[in-house]
């Protein structure tokens, strides 16, 4: 094939695509409007956006371009695009905890009025936690929730039965379960499988897993105690104390019961491993629950159970830095003497709009997010694993039929939804970090230190020192007082 022919073919193809894209919709509201929506390369999150865009275009005439970037680039791309005045991105689906860095410089559009007037999204149906924390900042609404995020532990119910184990309640239980199951053939293919599969890849979404493990040791007196810093002076709890050391020890030990290349596995890989039956345990958001019922790809349909994040019988005494046993005063919310700290990791992917976009584009972008969030569409998407959308509406928790229709057995649905609801309603829930430049604390400092620990470049002592030093460096660079007051206001501390 000659160059000329190839180029002609390409141009012809381009022409056809262009014409198809211009296919007129019936005098629709947003005819001729194009929205650039940025999110990360999924398929999670990007997939439902791309899937529903054509219907949205048919209904309203607005074209939706979904632009994907690697997760580790998302925060910076949005921030620089909007602060430098480039404004190529009209709207984005990202982490609510980054709102603080986008709202303060006035980059996000205040959508309080639009949300109040919007009947289609049924605002009261959105669980109060997500409505208040994931959508609002300083009392005004800036984002629309599309997804609800809580981390949980998933376990194989059949493996538990075979080994005579209970679902893990503490992290020591977790390790024991993993150790017992490791090396056994869990999916009948004749090859040895793994006790625990946790996504540990650097520059990905792994750093929330260590927070899930550590929180139970660090916070016991309720959400406003905070799980990241001391509320007096913003000294990191992720530093040299027995609690963090124990958490790091547990986290490192899970690697022994995992796949050999676990430190290069991202959530996509571990979910795949779990649903193909090669793992007995995993820590994840709600995705495994819905992926497990995929008739085409899952080998563990009806074999998956979910529990609230395991807890600990000992917690950190912040004065001495030592681990002390739980007592009713120290752990008022303990269940059976075990302190659980369910972690609202990430907050749930939500849609926000660029304040400086064209007014018509802003309207169209809001309409698109509203379209995605409406119960008719959202209720379907949260039951499909590959969307990455997890339940966040009360109706999604209460309507079991939704889930049984999607393929979950009633028991599994109760189990799964129960775990999420228990996390949602827990008084000792851990709120993800929301202070300015939280992304630097978590994605840059914590992630790098953990990656180095797992790679053997640092030992536990070194990792603790590294995280605390980096966090203090960032705090001092910004302003300790401002960060402290921001921290206290986000967790509701006095």
């Amino acid at each position: 094939m000659s160059i000329r022919k190839f180029l002609t073919g390409l141009t012809a193809g381009a022409g056809i695509c262009a014409l198809a894209a211009l296919a007129p919709a019936a005098a629709a509201e947003f005819d001729g409007v194009t929205i650039n929506v940025m999110t990360f390369t999924g398929p999670q999150i990007a997939e439902p956006l791309q899937r529903r865009a054509p219907d949205f275009e048919k209904a309203t005439g607005a074209k939706v371009n979904v632009i994907t970037v690697p997760f580790s680039d998302l925060y910076q791309k949005l921030l620089t695009d909007w602060t430098t005045g480039t404004n190529s991105v009209d709207a984005a689906v990202f982490a609510p905890q980054w709102m603080v860095d986008y709202v303060t410089p006035g980059l996000l559009e205040d959508i309080s009025d639009r949300v109040a007037k919007d009947e289609a999204i049924k605002l009261d149906d959105i669980a109060p936690f997500f409505r208040e924390f994931s959508q609002k900042f300083n009392g005004k609404t800036y984002m629309l929730t599309l997804d609800g995020d809580f981390q949980m532990v998933y376990y194989r119910t059949d493996v538990a039965k075979d080994l005579g184990l209970n679902p893990p309640q503490t992290w020591d239980d977790y390790l024991a379960f993993a150790k017992a199951a490791h090396g056994k053939d869990l999916n009948g293919d004749g090859k040895a499988d793994f006790g625990s599969c946790i996504a540990k890849k650097r520059n990905a979404q792994s750093y929330w897993m260590i927070i899930s493990v550590a929180s139970a040791f660090l916070q016991s007196k309720g959400t406003s105690q905070g799980a990241f810093f001391k509320t007096e002076d913003l000294q990191p709890l992720y530093g040299q104390n027995e609690a963090f050391a124990e958490a790091l020890r547990i986290y490192s030990e899970t690697t022994k019961y995992g796949p050999p290349d676990e430190i290069n596995l991202d959530v996509g890989d571990t979910r795949n491993l779990f649903t193909s039956g090669q793992c007995a345990l995993s820590i994840d958001w709600g995705d495994i629950g819905t992926l497990a019922i995929d008739k085409e790809k899952s080998k563990v349909i009806d074999k998956v159970g979910a529990v609230v994040l395991p807890g600990s019988k000992r917690v950190l005494d912040r004065e001495t830095g030592k681990l002390v046993d739980c007592t009713p005063e120290i752990c008022p919310h303990a269940k059976d003497g075990i302190n659980h700290a369910p972690f609202a990791a990430f907050g749930g992917w939500s849609g926000g709009i660029n304040a400086k976009a064209d007014p018509k584009v802003k309207d169209a972008a809001y309409a698109f997010f509203s379209w995605m969030s409406q119960p008719e569409h959202s209720n379907e998407d949260v039951t499909i694993g590959i969307t990455g959308f997890n339940p966040y509406r009360l109706s999604q928790f209460q309507n079991l039929e939704l889930w049984t229709k999607a393929g979950m057995s009633e028991q599994a649905a109760k189990d799964y939804l129960g775990a999420i609801q228990e996390s949602l309603n827990s008084p000792n829930m851990v709120l993800d970090l929301r202070i300015p430049q939280n992304q630097r604390y978590e994605q840059v400092a914590l992630d790098t230190a953990i990656a180095r620990l797992l790679a053997g470049e640092l030992d536990i002592e070194g990792a603790m020192k590294d995280v605390a030093a980096s966090w203090n460096e960032i705090t001092d660079e910004l302003s300790r007082d401002e960060q402290l007051s921001a921290y206290k206001s986000t967790i509701g501390a006095q």
């Binding site: 160059i3 650039n36 994907t68 990905a204 991202d266």
Partner: protein
């Protein structure tokens, strides 16, 4: 037949031939196998990957076009956009690079330039001064640039009488070619800042201009060698007849240099198509090119290699086609004079 002795003088022993062909064949396999694997993987279903590798379509498994359909239809617009951007940026920047580069190479090979060191020094001072004015003193960049340029030119002209060492053509050439040593990342950040200041981030223009500049040294290097081998007689007689240099260049020299031009254009086209780092820094959404799209798959897809294979295939297919065209010129040794020299 003796294995270790040549059958006749001047040829090789059968054993040696066997070894040589064997080794070369092994390397051919090493070169072609990854490409084969890409094609084969792009028509696999998820189950064909999850259960372990399969090698032959129709024999080991039934191929399916689902991945191709997904990328071209479901994700059609989001695939097409970066592809079109890549085409536009690569073609336009190659044209500009080859144009400006050949002109410079021609001039360097036919004329003698004697830039004075002092003029160069003054120019650098002028640029530095403009930068300082814009960033520290907050002067509007257009004003500062115009004023800086004017001031610099005036001072250079005034300093005409000042004695200063002169550089020659070879120094200019060396300077241009040494730009290749400059790691792009050093320039990428300031170029990013530069385009941000003028509000041209994430535009085709930014990418085109940057790619042109980055590839200019190669064009100058290659075309300079090429022009050096073109005899000057035709040009000299044309000049005696009174033709301007422009006419001589465009009507006589360029047609003579067509093979070299085509070879260089193909090479620059390929380099611009493959460019990753600069696009990474300078583009966000509107100007996203295909290497960025492919690299962004570095995410939570897990082993969804069928989609990635499709993307990689459509990314490298034009390059391979261009390469096959280009290698004809490599065979003729057209691009090797530079290295041998």
């Amino acid at each position: 037949m003796k294995l270790f002795e040549p059958a006749k003088l001047g040829s090789m022993a059968p054993a040696s031939k066997l070894i040589i062909y064997g080794l070369l064949g092994l390397w051919t396999f090493i070169v072609l196998f990854p490409l084969y694997w890409l094609i084969v993987t792009s028509v696999k279903l998820p189950i064909h990957v999850a259960d372990g590798p399969v090698y032959l379509p129709f024999v080991d498994y039934t191929p399916s076009l689902h991945a191709w359909r997904y990328i071209f239809v479901d994700l059609g617009r989001d695939t097409f956009r970066p592809y079109l951007n890549s085409v536009i940026v690569a073609v336009l920047s190659s044209i500009l690079a080859v144009g400006a580069g050949s002109m410079a190479a021609y001039a360097l090979s036919r004329l003698e330039f004697r830039p004075r060191l002092i003029s160069i020094g003054l120019f650098i001072l002028g640029v530095a001064g403009t930068v300082v004015a814009v960033t520290l003193a907050g002067v509007n960049w257009r004003v500062a640039a115009a004023a800086g340029l004017a001031l610099t030119l005036i001072v250079i002209r005034a300093a005409r009488g000042v004695p200063s060492p002169e550089l020659g053509n070879s120094d200019i050439l060396f300077w241009m070619i040494s730009q290749r040593i400059l790691p792009p990342v050093v320039a990428a950040i300031p170029i990013y800042v530069m385009f941000q200041q003028v509000g041209m981030l994430d535009t085709h223009f930014a990418l085109i201009v940057t790619y042109t500049t980055v590839n200019l040294p190669i064009v100058v290097w290659l075309m300079y060698d090429f022009f050096s081998t073109v005899p000057k007689d035709l040009e000299e007689s044309a000049e005696l007849d009174g033709a301007s240099r422009f006419r001589v260049f465009f009507e006589i020299v360029l047609p003579l240099a067509k093979p070299g031009l085509v070879a260089t254009s193909l090479l620059v086209l390929i380099l611009a198509w493959n460019e990753y780092l600069l696009a990474l820094f300078l583009s966000t959404a509107n100007a996203q090119t295909i290497p960025i799209l492919v690299a962004a798959q570095n995410a939570t897809r897990g082993p969804q290699w069928w989609y990635m294979s499709v993307l990689i295939i459509i990314m490298i297919l034009p390059v391979i086609l261009l390469t096959l065209l280009l290698q004809r010129f490599i065979a003729k040794g057209l691009l090797l004079g530079a290295v041998k020299g």
